[in-house]
């Protein structure tokens, strides 16, 4: 009798432990095999396109001016984004909105929203122009980034953007972000005569 109770207690304890265990323990254990082939960072360089945007780590060599950027923009971007990036056939404005976040009509643009200027380089290189992404040279991307920053009033007309100048551009929304602090509600399970 005693030992049966003990067995039961152990079984219950095991079940409880299993339910409380973190999810990972329910994934199977790694088999002692490895099918990956070694590759060098040099051999994957063409894929290594990310920019760590707060400090610009990963920005490639190259440079571009606001004037060059205007030419790139008018050749490759204006059809969808409209003259001076004020909105076009495919997308709304990419200028303005700075100072709009305390109003009920927040206007999201690279100027108002991006906390770090290298986001513009990273995103435009990987995703734009939408009809031919990842085809522009680093010089073209720096130039068009300079132009969009200039249209947003964030760099002067004679600005030159490169590896070292782009991360230094002060973005208005730099301190606009707070980490996830949810749950931010504490609803109760009322059943009768609620509210």
């Amino acid at each position: 009798m005693r030992s049966r109770e003990l067995v039961l207690a152990v079984a219950v304890a095991l079940i409880v432990a299993a339910c409380a265990a973190p999810t990972a323990s329910r994934l199977p254990e790694r088999p002692r095999v490895g099918f990956g082939q070694p590759i060098s960072e040099a051999d994957l360089a063409a894929w290594n396109i990310d920019v760590r945007t707060p400090d610009g780590l990963g920005l490639p060599p190259g440079r571009g001016t606001v004037a060059q950027g205007k030419a790139v923009y008018e050749a490759k971007c204006v059809a969808c984004h409209g003259p001076e990036a004020k909105g076009g056939s495919m997308y709304g404005t990419m200028v303005g909105g700075i100072g709009s976040f305390k109003t009920n009509a927040r206007v999201l643009t690279p100027g108002s929203m991006y906390p770090y200027a290298p986001i513009l380089f990273d995103y435009v290189r990987r995703a734009m122009p939408m009809d031919r992404p990842l085809t522009m040279t680093a010089d073209e991307v720096y130039a068009v980034a300079a132009y969009i920053l200039h249209l947003n009033g964030l760099v002067p007309a004679d600005a030159v953007m490169d590896q070292s100048s782009l991360p230094k551009v002060q973005m208005p929304n730099r301190d606009g972000f707070i980490p996830d602090d949810r749950p931010d509600t504490s609803a109760v399970r009322c059943m009768r005569d609620c509210k």
């Binding site: 760590r52 495919m90 927040r106 690279p110 770090y116 986001i119 995703a127 990842l134 949810r182 009768r192």
Partner: protein
């Protein structure tokens, strides 16, 4: 049976299929005098279509209204960075049929030859590695049922009712069985370097879509997925390879995955600063709000349907939580004043859609019906006013997990009653 009968029978079938999509008949139809005698259905008097030599089966032609739809509430100016939504009002179990799983792409759907596809792992690892699809499929596999929800699900319906159907309000939600292998296996194989705390995932689509994910979550339960619901991924779900991050906003489960990079801090991409962040009071934005919190919705009866007559109507819906299992769902039919526990249908799985059911006898008077879910952490699904107290409801709002009411009029019309 004459030709005339056949014809009228056919057109009747056609009509009833359409009605079944929108109207719900009540109970109490038994033994009515004057019912027409039942004719033998023509399908019972002839052979059907022969089995074709090869085929991928498709639903009955009478179910052609059950399709994904792009939203017509928030209309994009192009359809490469756009979305389509799951017809939840027609989903009968917890698994979303593969062709109905919602879509959200940022540069359309690439067609990738798996024989050419490669995955690389590099950055803060001891040995950068490259894998072919056949390398990846040599590992033992694991299958898990999980929901997938876009952070923008329900974004059009906060302070005013903008959408009509539950497909429009909640259709950026689906559930499938996902098959692949733990990402942690491959990170262990490459060997994590000192300082490794964040992991970048990047797609091979035209947006080269990228997100930064904390290493702890990746090691806990992230999967490299190549199959769903028993078949290889559909192109629009990331064929041939995606990462799947259970319980977190769909955007982080990067499709068409080609690169994993380990780092010591997040990258702060556009997709995690300018987008996929939540407006907060005082002009601030909440960032890295990955988790999809506990939520539920009634899918039947739901917006656009009609209750034909008073009597028994089973209220059906889904509940889910990115934090764990659903432990309870309550239903109110009086606008949130009184609540009754609904029945949860097995299986009830961690970070997975759970079906709830509640038998409701509608008295034919106007009613407001809604559901409220509770998860295994004790978190109770809030109302929209609860959420508003904490967040700024403006612009392109994400992570709306508020209680969602539908109104039923005296004539049985079911409408969005969010505000």
């Amino acid at each position: 049976m004459g030709n005339d009968t056949k014809h009228s029978r056919r057109s009747f079938l056609g009509k009833s299929a359409v009605i079944a999509g929108t109207a719900l008949a009540g109970a109490g139809v038994g033994g009515r005098a004057g019912a027409e005698p039942l004719p033998i259905p023509p399908t019972a008097q002839q052979p059907g279509r022969p089995i074709p030599a090869t085929a991928y089966g498709t639903p009955s032609k009478f179910e052609s209204h059950v399709v994904r739809r792009r939203t017509d509430v928030f209309v994009n100016r192009q359809n490469w960075s756009d979305w389509s939504m799951t017809p939840l009002q027609h989903q009968h179990g917890i698994v979303t049929p593969t062709g109905l799983i919602f879509e959200r792409h940022h540069a359309g759907i690439p067609d990738i030859d798996p024989a050419m596809h490669k995955l690389v792992i590099h950055g803060l690892v001891k040995q950068p590695l490259v894998f072919s699809m056949s390398d990846l499929m040599r590992y033992p596999s694991v299958s898990k049922f999980h929901f997938l929800e876009c952070s923008g699900n329900t974004l059009a319906d906060w302070t005013k009712a903008a959408s009509t159907t539950v497909q429009q309000t909640h259709g950026l939600l689906s559930c499938a069985q996902w098959t692949g292998l733990p990402v942690s296996w491959l990170l262990d194989e490459a060997g994590l370097g000192p300082g490794a705390t964040w992991v970048l995932f990047e797609g091979a689509d035209g947006s080269n879509h990228t997100r930064s994910i904390p290493l702890d979550k990746v090691m806990d339960d992230a999967l490299l997925v190549y199959a769903q619901n028993g078949e290889m991924l559909r192109p629009e779900q990331g064929y041939p390879l995606r990462v799947f991050i259970p319980g977190w906003e769909g955007n982080v489960s990067v499709k068409w995955l080609r690169r994993i990079k380990v780092g010591d801090q997040p990258w702060h991409f556009r997709s995690e600063t300018a987008r996929y962040t939540d407006p907060m009071p005082d002009g601030k934005w909440r960032q890295f709000s990955f988790l999809m919190e506990c939520k539920s919705v009634i899918t039947r009866p739901s917006g656009g349907m009609k209750l034909e007559r008073p009597g028994l109507h089973e209220i059906q819906g889904f509940a889910w939580s990115g934090r764990g299992r659903i432990t309870a769902v309550d239903v109110s039919v009086d606008g949130g004043k009184n609540w009754q526990p609904a029945t949860l249908e097995e299986p009830v799985i961690d970070k997975c859609l759970t079906r709830f059911r509640h038998r409701w006898s509608w008295d034919g008077r106007p009613a407001v019906i809604q559901s409220r879910a509770v998860d295994s952490t004790g978190y109770v699904q809030p109302t929209v006013p609860d959420i508003m107290k904490a967040r700024a409801i403006a612009g392109f709002v994400q992570h709306h997990n508020g209680i969602f009411p539908w109104s039923v009029s005296a004539s049985g019309e079911v409408r969005n009653a969010i505000a």
